[in-house]
């Protein structure tokens, strides 16, 4: 027997990540807050409900079209807190820096962090800096944690999806993943593909203030929309159907995905949310999301059914219905 080792795939956000969480992590740390498996924990603190979330950023390269690791780290945590239905207030920033990182680069990153926090309206209230010897980290890793406050009537969770809900996605898919990949690998496309990294807290707040009965909010980051929908389908024990024709993907991103042989459904986004809203509220919710600067091309992509709980299906453009699985590592060829 060979010794089992952690694979890169354990961090992909796909099937292996999930089994690591539920087999290794959850049994040891088990508590009611963690078991919910939402983007952040929801904490009852003396009558107030707080959302608390943490995330580490290890992106390569640290600078890419449309942003860098700094705003990615701020927006990521702002968004994770927002997806709990909370208003993000305070965040922490922890830096692990590799010896030799040009100071100029660090400065740009810090400035970006400051600007992103300002834009999102959150205060950076604590932090930490470590420097490790060359080779022990890759340029810079950032951890951010954050706290937000959940308004009284709000109850948003990945386990709240109901049959009949409509699913809205706030914008185009796969921009971030393709932007980072193309700058890392030096791939050239016809037109520039930029990250979509953006804070979504204002969009979420308008949505919640509007009185729309929002059941689920999620940001489809690692593993992409396909993986996120699978998580929700199994958390809520519902079936999900989406329509291929309605999926918003920009021409250049679609072209890049086609050339690379990637499915945009499994590529990361950093400034998009999906919202599950009952049919009666969906038009209103869509309108509100579209009014936000980061939600202009929001669309309805599918709905929730009581059939096939835990499964996600794609109505394809040629008329069939294809099952959409969670991301499983490298997509090895199957067709013969």
């Amino acid at each position: 027997m060979t010794e089992e080792k952690i694979l890169l795939d354990h961090g992909s956000g796909g099937k292996l990540s999930h089994s690591m969480f539920s087999d290794m992590i959850l049994p040891l740390f088990e508590n009611s807050e963690l078991s919910k498996q939402d983007d952040g924990a929801i904490l009852d603190v003396e009558g107030a409900r707080l959302a608390f979330s943490t995330d580490s950023y290890v992106v390569d390269p640290i600078f890419f079209p449309g942003g860098n690791i700094g705003d990615l780290a701020v927006n990521g945590t702002v968004n994770d807190i927002s997806m709990c239905g909370a208003v993000p207030k305070f965040i922490s920033v922890g830096l692990i820096i590799e010896e030799g990182l040009p100071v100029k680069q660090l400065k740009i990153i810090l400035e970006t962090i400051a600007a992103a926090a300002k834009k999102a309206g959150v205060k950076i209230v604590t932090g930490d800096t470590k420097v490790v010897p060359r080779g022990k980290a890759d340029k810079i890793f950032i951890n951010t944690s954050g706290i937000g406050v959940i308004p009284a009537h709000v109850n948003v969770s990945g386990s709240n999806a109901q049959p009949g809900d409509k699913i809205i996605v706030s914008g185009t898919l796969a921009d971030h993943g393709i932007a980072v990949l193309s700058s890392r690998e030096g791939l050239k496309f016809d037109s520039d593909i930029k990250t979509d990294s953006a804070p979504l807290n204002k969009m979420v707040q308008s949505l919640i203030r509007s009185g729309c009965d929002v059941h689920v909010l999620r940001d489809p980051t690692r593993g992409g929309l396909g993986t996120t929908l699978n998580e929700i389908a199994s958390q809520s024990r519902v079936g999900i159907r989406i329509d291929e024709m309605s999926l918003p993907v920009t021409g250049p991103v679609r072209g890049a995905c086609e050339l690379l042989g990637f499915d945009p459904l499994y590529i990361a986004n950093e400034g998009k949310l999906i919202a599950f809203v009952p049919e009666k509220d969906v038009d209103k919710a869509l309108e509100i999301i579209r009014q936000d600067v980061f939600g202009k091309v929001a669309v309805i992509i599918g709905d929730v059914t009581s059939e096939d709980p835990g499964k996600v299906f794609l109505q394809t453009s040629i008329g069939g219905v294809r099952p959409i699985d969670m991301l499983t590592g490298e997509q090895l060829p199957r067709i013969c």
């Binding site: 690998e185 791939l187 690379l260 042989g261 008329g319 219905v321 294809r322 099952p323 060829p333 067709i335």
Partner: protein, 782 residues
Amino acid sequence: MTVPIALNQTAVAKKLEISGVVQGVGFRPFLFGLADQYHLKGEVFNTSGGIRVIVEGPPEKIERFVDDIYHKSPLLASVTDIKSSDVPPGNFFSFKIENSEVANRRTTLISPDVAICSDCLAEMKDPGNRRHEYEFINCTNCGPRYTIIKDIPYDRSKTSMKSFKMCGKCQQEYDDPLNRRFHAQPNACPVCGPQVFLTDRRGNRINTDSQSAITLAAQYLRQGRIIGIKGLGGFHLACDAANLDAVKQLRQRKNRPHKPFALMAASASILFDHVHVSNREKQLLTSYQRPIVLLKRKYINGDNQKGSVLATDVAFFNKTLGVMLPYAPLHCLLLEKGPSILVMTSGNLSGEPLSIENEDALEAFSHIADYFLLHNRDICFRADDSIARIQAGETRFIRRSRGYAPLPVFINRKMPKILGCGAGFKNAVCLTRGHHAFLSQHIGDLDNMKTHAFYRDSIDHLKNIFDIQPDIIAHDMHHGYMSTDYAKAQNTVKKVAVQHHHAHAAACMAENGLDEEVIAITLDGTGYGTDGHIWGGEILLCTQKAFKRKAHLSYIKMPGGDAAVLEPWRMAASVLFQVFGKDFLQMEIPYIKAMEKEKLSFICGMMEKNLNSPLTSSVGRLFDAVSSLLCVRHTISYESQAAMELEAMADERPVRECYAFDLVSGKKDGGRDQVFEINLMPCIRQITAELQQGRHVAGISAKFHYTLAQAFAVAALKVSLQTHIQKIILSGGVFHNDIILNTMILALEEHNLKVYTHTQVPTGDGGICLGQAVVAAALEGS
């Protein structure tokens, strides 16, 4: 003359347990007749295990009775075993047919669906017969079986004929042991049986009786309309094969640009203008299984010298046409009254299983068919048309389905109860027990919600009708197949993961009754290898239990993963990049001129960075590469299109020219563990040179086929010399290729190697389920 008093005049009695395909095929009337002939007494009845007979009389007559059971049994029957035991005599005054005994054990074999017999055909054509032009005429020698069975034992109440109560005349036939329709479960007539009717595309009934519905449908077909037809095992979409507009329209509406259409012809002789039909092929065409038979065309794409012409669009760039003869009475009537050759393509939406219900078909094809010819007998279980071909002197299956399923393949070894889950595409499943491996009908590509449901239903149905609860589930090693997920989700039983090409080889071994160490050449499209790469050009040293990889095609990259399967131009870029590096972008060959430079250099970038560029030893992918390199096919619209068109393109004159290839011996951990790499990149280099010199594609294609077969034959010979094993197995989808199969057999036999091939299950992935079960059984037995 005095009658000698025989000393052995004393009557004895024997109980016979007859197993095999013995129900619903006129077996009991046959025994009744035999008993009558030999003046024997006793009784006969169906059991869940087959048929039980008790015969009483003089021993030598009983002996002849038993002999005749083996040698004179009805056309559709197949006796696999007769267990005989002595019982006390003296209990009978005559020979009687008793009612079925319902037992718990379900070991009887279920008959497949059977094409209309000559007696029924004659009756149907006889204006004086009460079943004149009746489209559901059948008897114990013909008609539907598997597709109308909900449960066993096979009795009318357990079929979709349950809702039709027999009229007096039909009941009389059904009850008369000497009638051809004695206990013919689907027995029916125009008075009491199912009826056809015609509707427009919205399902509105066009007011006619049964007979004129067919006449009208035939007329619409002659006018170039497309009709959705409910048949035996599912729907067809039909149009006049000689009407170019109709065929074009069908292609366009079905969104099927190139894949050849199957044809149905009124008779074998009217095919002679279009295809070559040998005696063997004619036998296969007219067999009661009536598969679609691939026949060699006399002309390709319209350059016919003769008068009658099929629409060019029925099949493009293909050396064969897939043709079948009518098997349901309905088809016979339609072809008699309508065009004499119809396109009969399967009635399914792309990627979905065949429609079997009227409502489903109306919903699915309202945009394709102008009219629907429907009927009111339910199809309980769908069965696609089988596809077969005579190659190297034997019948070979491309798809083993209607007419064959669910008859078992017989296995030497006694099998535990195993479910073989099959692969991911062209799936079929297999259940085993004793010496039987029951393969399902064709299930299809497991890439679609409806096909998934059909897959699960098929397994449940087969488990039920054969009463097999598997103790072991065998599945492919590929994590991305739905069939693997299915296996993993079954909690209670033992699971065995079987390497794809080991399964291919084991299936072929089992078919040929081989259980010793053999050399297997598996040439294929895609199979997950034990090293995590995609295999498909392997030489394995294997037993049913285990294998060692002895040689393989040198790895090449698949830029884009599955995209490289759908877009062979990527494979051409891959081999060119491997041989010439980025310099190939400057080469003066038609391929480069046909491609966008930026795309090609992007693909090179992907390969340089190992970005979504998995490694493969697949011969299928090498075929794709050469097909695109020769500008035969750059992107495909159906599976194996590029390779099939490359084959069709090849010069038919015998080739002895061979491109260069290398046999590189890899890991040398001493004698037996040496692994050869079969490197065909020198061949790619020479092909490119010939393209620059302007050599014709036909010659290059023929030479490439020859080279590939030689390279593997030579490598197999080396393995044979090393191991002293002379039995060679050929398996994998590439052996559908006629040139490869024939060249390979010749090349191996030249060196006195004994070659074994598939004749009972497909050499492609439709046969995988059998191999999986065989490997699991061998592991269990150890």
